[in-house]
């Protein structure tokens, strides 16, 4: 899994019918000090993450291992909202 920050949402009505009912969040990849990288991923939300929250998301076929995304054309799913991250023993602050 990798660290990301939810910065927005994607709405789409004309899409693969298997994707109906899913929420697509734009997740900016983060460095270990929570600063944003350039890369982002659009991930399906499976835990109710909100904009601004630091999250973890799984990619590849692992993303289909939830009730919501099973057998669906999804390759990235948000599966955790980070409460606390320690790096080398020090907590990372999220301004």
């Amino acid at each position: 899994m990798i660290l990301g920050k939810v910065i927005g949402t994607v709405w789409s009505t004309r899409k693969d019918e298997n994707l109906v009912g899913m929420k697509f969040l734009i997740v900016k990849h983060l460095k270990l000090d929570y600063t944003e990288k350039d890369a982002f991923t659009v991930a399906v939300d499976s835990v109710g993450a909100g904009v601004g929250e630091v999250v973890l998301f799984a990619q590849g076929s692992s993303a289909r291992q939830t009730k919501l995304t099973k057998n669906k054309p999804v390759d990235a799913v948000i599966m955790a909202i980070v409460d606390k991250l320690d790096v080398n023993g020090k907590p990372v602050k999220d301004e």
Binding site: M1, I2, L3, L32, S46, V47, G48, L56, A58, Q59, G60, S61, S62, A63, R64, Q65, T66, T69, V77, M79, A80, I81, V82, D83, K84, L85, D86, V87, N88, G89
Partner: protein, 92 residues
């Protein structure tokens, strides 16, 4: 499988329910000379690796296999702690 070093830990209470009481560690990938290569990843830890330990981990959907549940959205899992590495020409 990849070599890595545990450099941190993640706490997350709001997560996919199959991940309850699953420890997640921050892993820095290493090469065989144990230099840092690539971006850190978060991996499920069912082994109980300590901070700073050299480990090896697997990626993609097989990462769920070490877990008690058989259906969870994880794409990296620590599967062993390294005791020593013998390279062809010298001993690490």
């Amino acid at each position: 499988m990849n070599l890595g070093k545990v450099i941190g830990t993640i706490w997350a209470t709001r997560k996919y329910e199959a991940l309850n009481n699953t420890k997640m560690q921050l892993v820095q990938p290493l090469d065989f000379e144990q230099n840092e290569i690539g971006e850190p990843v978060i991996a499920v830890d069912t082994i109980g690796a300590g901070p700073g330990e050299t480990i090896f981990y697997i990626t993609s959907s097989e990462a769920v296999i070490p877990m008690d549940v058989d259906f969870a959205p994880v794409d990296a899992a620590i599967v062993g702690i390294v005791d020593s590495i013998n390279l062809e020409n010298n001993k690490q």
